[in-house]
Point group: C2
Chain length 489, copies 2
């Protein structure tokens, strides 16, 4: 039975928000939340609620929710645990349908806290208010109203990826990483103790959210495992969901149960069940981000056969290893393909897959090689390794005290330009063939942030700093593509 | 039988070098090598050898090795394959004992190339010259003469880690990463086709090299597996050796055999045998660097029991999972420890390992917590998670348009200062207790390069961007410590 959909529009795009417990006493939580809402540029109405202050951060404050002159869509609650019930009662009168309880000191502290939490949840149900939390870090909902009502002192960039996290810190890390990698955040929900709304509810709601293209979920444990799997199954029909299930060892499970009070499930069962829903399983925060980047920006491959094009042999070997470990295929090249590449590549090229050009590419050869490989019917995606050195190499020459000799300055500038041409070629070929091209480069190339990196970043093509990470991300993309084909077919 | 040690002093610290095939024709290999030697600041004598040029880069050139007026310690060979034998004959007359043959077009191209390679190796043997290569990227040997006679347009910083790589590109990546992470490079050898000197020879020589503290080796295949294992066994008595064995899948092995002509061994056998020698096995380039960083800069732990101290619960759970996956132990806390931490931590702390402070640390509490955990006899090392946000958090406040209100600017500066105090506390505690402390922080914290990061970097304490990478590095450190204890006991 599919439960009725929960309407979270007042959570995702409220026209007005109140902060119960807003404070001018920095850095109390009630001051941080309000400051972050202001810094994020929220375009709706903001009502700070504080018993004594007449204004906070220059915004008129109200002594109670009841004293607010207009209706309120969403309330953030930062008052002490024992006062939460009263805030909810006041809120209901104002037409509030959703409250985010940031306050801690509930079930995560033991049985006394659990009693208070149960009472809060029961009262909310009576009042018709849905709860996020308690003991959470708040939420960010960037489309369309730029609401950053959370604890982290950080405003993410806007993008297509949404986060549901049972750890506020992990949610923060994910939002920070999505911003740093240029992907951006749509919504980020810290679900806290989940006294009412659960991870499953949020995943379903994000499945129906037109602004969200990919969902990332950090899960320590769920009370209703069956509903969680159902939520995944429904949602993966609409968009990719990537799950990081923590607490999968005995030590991790002990840590998790003291963290959110959640009962961590047996790993093997979960793993199998999660994958059967069509969700993707990530093994780390890095993988959540890596998977999101390819799901958002690469075409879906038609199969699991991967071509490798490398400037240097070692990278090719490591990539072939990594792809095979991930269960992908590195097919041999057809004679026709070898003959076509013979026209382009230097005589000593590897004549196999990986295509190792042994540092011997001339101008324009890369694009021709990509075209040759991508136009075959037995290569579904490409990993490109060891490119992007031109910028570092070129700058090394241009900056040399010997730059005036032997045309070194011009050659250096040419190297830099060749990198840019490579980047444009990759972008062009992805769009021309609608097959994924995953670039793997040195961490140093990424850190340099040269035009090579920037051109690719503008198209959303992220560079992977290691063959293993690239292979894991490509495998996730292939699994999701298989899931889509299966349901389309 | 232990073979006679090979004297590679003329390779590691030559008083003079010749470049046979030096060229003013940029970017020919012979111009790049010479330029890189000059840019690196080599303090010995340099003799470019070119049939027609009278000087290159302002340095007097000679028409042949024989025409050089003095003796020569080391020759770099960049002439075409068919001329290498003549260069070697000339070199022998000058007293050259080691030649680095960068030239490609030998066994890696097929059976014709193999014949030329065999002839070169045979002639070198007759002449008493040891060969590096052919088909290699050259070498860097930074202590004491700053020799960077290699193809990469890059000068590494000097440090205690040496590299032996069967892929020039991977060797370059390693040197770049060691420089980027502030660890630095001692020597880097691109072993190429290993027609004479092998990975095993280089590992042995680096084992006896007083400037090298840790050896990293990228291996695709070895002809004499038994000698390789012997070399590892001998060398790990002296210092840590970390091996990345590539080509461990069928696809990778195919790629490797076309790359260096090496026959890749069966993975399972290798893996077991390599670990038995006391060498550490890395699964990726990242792990080579991660392992090097802790081996160089952290004390050796007395056992495998790890304490976790975290600012946020999610990080603790992921770290506990990662440590257990690596085979390390996350022991429960003794009552005495819990009581001692009760004095320091906020009432809601987790009361277990991971020690989750739930963002509730006051000034000075971190150091007291570290002291409490490190002074126990059942915790051998610590992983510290989720710190270092103070700099980003503080800057967010200081830069706020509301910074003048509520003392926000002062509070922001205090957050930044607290990060610095945390960093100093970590350094102090590592040295006081001689137990490793491995910090895991957000990638964003590392990229910010604030004073928190810099204070730790100055002491060589590198920050890990993920629990999994930290756990793998700590596990490697524990394995090496166990190996040392085993051989001492």
């Amino acid at each position: 039975m599919k439960p009725d959909p929960i309407d979270l529009s007042s959570l995702f795009h409220p026209a007005s928000v109140a902060v119960a417990g807003a404070s001018p006493n920095f850095p109390k939580w009630g001051s941080i939340i309000l400051h972050n809402i202001l810094r994020g540029g929220y375009t709706g109405k903001i009502y700070p609620v504080n018993p004594t202050a007449s204004e906070i951060f220059g915004i008129p404050a109200y002594p109670s929710i009841g004293a607010i002159p207009d209706g309120v869509d969403l309330v953030f609650v930062v008052v002490p645990p024992e006062r939460v019930v009263d805030v909810l009662a006041d809120s209901a009168v104002k037409g509030v349908r959703t409250a985010v309880v940031i306050t801690a000191g509930f079930s995560e502290t033991g049985s006394d806290g659990k009693e208070i939490e149960d009472a809060v949840a029961a009262r909310a149900r009576e009042l018709g208010i849905r709860l996020v939390g308690p003991n959470c870090m708040g939420i960010a909902s960037l489309s369309p109203k730029k609401l950053t009502a959370w604890m982290p002192s950080f405003i993410p960039t806007i993008g297509p990826v949404s986060i549901v996290s049972q750890s506020g810190n992990v949610g923060y890390s994910l939002a920070w990483a999505l911003t740093g990698r240029g992907i951006g955040v749509c919504r980020s929900i810290s679900s806290g103790n989940e006294a009412d709304l659960t991870t499953s509810d949020f995943i379903r709601a994000l499945g129906d959210d037109e602004h969200t293209r990919v969902i990332l979920s950090y899960v320590e444990g769920v009370d209703d495992g069956r509903d969680f799997l159902l939520a995944l199954e429904e949602t993966t029909q609409k968009k990719p969901v990537v799950v990081l299930k923590a607490g999968h060892t005995a030590a991790g499970a002990r840590a998790g149960s003291s963290h959110t009070g959640a009962l961590a499930g047996t790993d093997e069962l979960y793993e199998a069940a999660i994958i059967q829903t069509g969700a993707l399983r990530a093994a780390s925060i890095d993988q959540l981000i890596d998977f999101a980047s390819v799901l958002v920006n690469q075409p879906l491959p038609q199969g699991d056969r991967v071509g490798i094009l490398t400037l240097g042999g070692g990278w090719g070997v490591l990539t072939a290893d990594a792809l095979e470990v991930e269960g992908l295929t590195v097919p041999p090249l057809a004679q026709k393909t070898i003959a076509a590449l013979d026209e382009v590549l230097p005589p000593w090229w590897s004549r196999g897959n990986p295509v190792d050009t042994v540092a011997g590419l001339r101008k324009g050869d890369l694009k021709k090689s990509l075209q040759t490989l991508l136009s075959t019917d037995y290569i579904d995606s490409l990993v490109l390794c060891g490119f992007g050195y031109g910028t570092a190499r070129g700058s090394f020459l241009v900056d040399s005290p010997y730059a005036d000799r032997y045309g070194m300055r011009d050659i250096g500038n040419r190297f830099i330009a060749e990198d840019e041409e490579t980047a444009r070629g990759i972008v062009e070929m992805i769009d021309a063939f609608e097959k994924p091209i995953i670039p793997v480069v040195d961490q140093g190339v990424i850190e340099r942030r040269g035009s090579f990196v920037e051109i690719l970043k503008d198209r959303g093509v992220l560079l992977f700093p290691s063959p293993r990470r690239a292979a894991a991300a490509l495998a996730a993309l292939c699994r999701y593509a298989g899931h889509v084909r299966h349901h389309a077919g």
